[in-house]
């Protein structure tokens, strides 16, 4: 799937512009790193409380951090697409990249579960009550999948082609 898309965009003006603009790549990398701190910073607080740690934190209030998470994700989606456009043949066949995208997809489905199933529970639950099992599952799935995304992303330059 990624290879098909890579072949379709390889001669695009965007690809040529990214490759010709020498300062752009480090700027995109820096933005991608700042984005990941916003994304993970917010999720660490939300997910750890959802999993049942730090009971003194009001679970309902943690969702106020979501704008930071969404901003971080948006920054990284945009810079991520630009990385792909900048070097389509390298990313499309890279096993680290392919697995990373699978985990992002899993994390996205999990975020939908949070939005529709878990967040409504957190908004009304007694803050001293134990976390319901579904909240724990969603919390650990989120933490594990995003940690996997970080690891795989960092390994893209070091792993082979798929």
């Amino acid at each position: 799937m990624f290879e098909y898309f890579a072949e379709a965009i390889i001669d695009s003006a965007l690809t040529q512009w990214i490759q010709a603009t020498y300062w752009l790549w480090p700027v995109m990398e820096i933005t991608h790193f700042i984005g990941l701190t916003l994304l993970l910073g917010g999720l660490i607080v939300i997910d750890l409380r959802m999993a049942g740690f730090f009971r003194s934190i009001d679970p309902a209030a943690t969702h106020k951090l979501l704008p930071a998470v969404i901003l971080g994700f948006s920054l990284n989606l945009i810079t991520g697409i630009l990385f792909f456009y900048g070097d389509p043949m390298r990313y499309s066949i890279n096993i680290g990249f392919q697995l990373k995208m699978l985990l992002v997809l899993l994390a996205g489905i999990n975020a939908a579960m949070y939005h529709w199933k878990v967040d409504p529970i957190l908004q009304t639950m007694d803050r001293n009550a134990a976390s319901p099992p579904i909240a724990k599952v969603v919390a650990y799935t989120s933490l594990l999948s995003w940690t996997g995304v970080l690891l795989l992303g960092r390994l893209i330059p070091y792993v082979g082609t798929g």
Binding site: L40, I44, I57, L151
Partner: protein
């Protein structure tokens, strides 16, 4: 001294092992997410965002941030050993370390102020801290580009 460090068996292992360097980089990015993630959320909260969230939240999370810092001090030191003599003259590397040092000192000051009402001075500290951590990321990334 840095040449000596580069030639210790530890540094040679980091530099020549097929998986040591990528493994350490992977740990380093998880630590980065924990440390800068928690501290930047704390700073944004002190600057007035997500005001429904109690400030006290971040006094509980600081231990986790410090654990992330220790993880990154260790993984960072090991990464450093493999190219010690190059890194000690790298302007981005030295800038990154300075930013982290200021960020950590500020973290202890800010921690002691998390239980009281937010003072104007705490907001200034939070703003400087946020700039330090963002600058540490910028400088850290530039290590690979500016020699």
């Amino acid at each position: 001294m840095f040449i000596w460090l580069e030639n210790t068996s530890l540094a040679l292992w980091v530099g020549t092992s097929l998986w040591a360097y990528p493994f350490l980089l992977s740990i380093h990015i998880v630590g980065l997410a924990v440390v800068v993630g928690i501290f930047s959320m704390r700073d944004l909260r002190l600057l007035g965002l997500f005001s429904a969230l109690s400030i006290d939240t971040f006094s509980h999370l600081s231990k986790l941030a410090v654990a992330g810092f220790i993880l990154n001090a260790v993984s960072g030191f090991l990464l450093f050993t493999s190219q010690a003599s190059t890194f000690v003259t790298s302007v981005p590397f030295l800038s990154k370390l300075s930013c982290i040092a200021v960020g950590m000192i500020l973290a202890f000051y800010i921690q002691s102020r998390l239980k009281t009402e937010i003072q104007q001075q705490t907001k200034v500290l939070a703003f400087v801290s946020l700039i330090c951590w963002m600058a540490a990321i910028v400088a850290g990334r530039l290590i690979a580009y500016i020699f």
